[in-house]
């Protein structure tokens, strides 16, 4: 027992030191620089995508869109057009969404999907392989698993892919005088929506950005009661989240986070005011916390960037 206490103490001390040293200095310049670049890329992409989608019409008005994904997705780009690989024998994967279900399952750009579950994906009765895949996926519920059979460099293989719901997409910008709306859900998980009663913008700044997280690995079971999950090295200051240092996040709304960024991706999918269940291990005991994502009301003018 004494030996375990010593071991636990050593681990705890190491983690505390790690945490405090990390907390005492900023992310290094490399990370900071990369973060700033990412921020710029996200802002640029936001405008581009909106323009391509023709959401930004000539009306020059503030437009807010919120989409809640309902379809199951596997996280690949599949439509072939000019200059892209096409085949009558299957669907070429043009790209794989990073961190998405297909990526996690090991699919790669260039793979030729030839079957989904028991349905072959070849051209039949005038129906293209791409259309056959889309039609099949329309009957799949988010969270269901599908088996994809594919060819890679001539070798045939199969993989089970756990589908996910399409993530919520929120677009908020103004094309009018005063500049565009600052869309900073990237630097911090800011979300917007229009209050139907007052017509005012509501935003939420997720309070989880001051957390520090790390994935648990094998052997942690003796100390935390589980050897899988995301260890909260430093809990968010916001008491609404009810998390404490050294909690282990096992599930978020029934979904198992694979790593810290996946945990944030799940957390970010919740909108202000929504309640989520956090399944955690605390003092080796599994328990569930009910957390309501806090709202922060702000007038939209506050968010406009002057031109």
């Amino acid at each position: 027992m004494g030996r375990y206490s010593e071991l636990f103490g050593a681990v705890l001390l190491t983690l505390v030191l790690t945490s405090s040293v990390a907390a005492a200095r900023p992310d290094d310049d490399g990370v900071e620089h990369a973060m700033q670049e990412a921020q710029r890329a996200l802002e640029s992409a936001q405008g581009e995508i909106a323009e391509i989608e023709v959401i930004a019409g000539p009306g020059r008005t503030l437009m807010i869109g919120e989409r809640r994904g309902r379809r199951a997705m596997i996280g690949i780009t599949l439509v072939g057009e000019d200059g892209e690989q096409r085949s009558d024998d299957g669907v070429y994967v043009s790209a794989v969404s990073p961190g998405g279900p297909a990526d996690q399952a090991g699919l790669r750009a260039g793979d030729l999907l030839i079957r989904i579950d028991d349905t072959p994906l070849d051209t039949r009765d005038g129906v293209s392989p791409e259309r056959a895949l889309v039609e099949y996926m329309s009957g799949v519920d988010p969270g269901e698993a599908v088996e994809l059979t594919y060819l890679r460099d001539g070798d045939r293989d199969s993989v089970a892919v756990q589908t996910e719901a399409q993530g919520p997409q929120v677009f908020a910008f103004s094309g009018g005088p005063g500049g565009r709306l600052r869309f900073d859900d990237d630097d911090s998980p800011m979300r917007f929506r229009m209050d139907p009663d007052t017509g005012r913008m509501m935003g939420v700044r997720g309070s989880w950005i001051d957390m520090e997280l790390v994935s648990l690995s094998e052997g942690a079971d003796d100390y935390f009661g589980t050897d899988s999950g995301i260890l909260v090295v430093r809990a968010p200051d916001d008491a609404d989240f009810e998390l404490k240092d050294w909690d282990v996040i096992a599930e978020i709304g029934g979904r198992v986070p694979r790593d810290p960024s996946h945990a944030l991706r799940i957390l970010r999918s919740y909108m202000p005011g929504e309640t989520l269940e956090l399944t955690i291990y605390r003092n080796k005991r599994r328990q569930t916390l009910e957390v309501t994502v806090p709202e922060l009301r702000r007038r939209y003018e506050d968010l406009l960037i002057p031109e």
Partner: protein
């Protein structure tokens, strides 16, 4: 208790910060010093000169980069500053490796200059995208302590790329025009490039 880095960055960037935090920073020499350091880093980066892109093709860029060895950080880090960063990085890496003796430095991934992505055709962009996806898989962040801010930015990049993928694969609604598809691929490449750079920078960061 001192201000967190995320709060200091918010202060630096004039974002929303709890008034109590601001009061503390105003009164605390250590936090003020940290804030000044963060501001100096940003000012230093902004002060770096913009270099005009050379009139060469992407293939030339790749060939030159391969000839010089892999490059990730900005080419603008040259001269004494670049040397200082290099020496500092070497010292940090050496000390880290001596202390830890375990963690291997990640292989520098291939990245794509944003300017190159702007002029590429759809097939070229698809090739870049595939290249970057390969690079992404080579950066392992398993076992790294990650701040919520970094994790959130990675999540945002992944979400945005996933959304572009949905648009590219959309079968309902009017079909995308060729130029629209090209621009979506272009944005995919730029975002993917940012994701590779951020994950690589995070993998390089010393935890101790």
């Amino acid at each position: 208790m001192h201000a967190e880095i995320a709060e200091l960055l918010n202060l630096r960037d004039s974002s929303l910060v709890d008034a109590r935090i601001k009061q503390h920073v105003d009164a605390c020499p250590r936090c003020r010093r940290e804030l000044a350091h963060l501001s100096a880093v940003r000012a230093g980066l902004r002060a770096l000169p913009e270099l005009p892109a050379p009139d060469i093709s992407w293939e030339d860029v790749v060939a030159r980069a391969q000839a010089q060895g892999p490059i990730l950080r900005s080419e603008r880090l040259d001269g004494w500053y670049g040397a200082a960063v290099g020496i500092a990085a070497t010292v940090v890496m050496t000390v880290s490796l001596l202390l830890l003796g375990q963690r291997e430095a990640p292989t520098q991934p291939t990245t794509v200059p944003a300017a190159a992505a702007m002029v590429d055709s759809t097939p070229q962009l698809m090739g870049r995208s595939r290249q970057l996806e390969e690079s992404l898989r080579s950066v392992d962040l398993q076992g790294r302590i990650m701040s919520g801010r970094t994790a959130s930015t990675i999540a945002a990049l992944e979400e945005r790329i996933a959304y572009i993928d949905q648009l590219l694969s959309r079968t309902d609604g009017p079909p995308l025009q060729q130029e629209q598809r090209r621009r979506l691929w272009q944005q995919r490449v730029v975002l993917l490039d940012s994701l590779v750079r951020l994950r690589y920078a995070e993998a390089q960061r010393a935890d101790f």
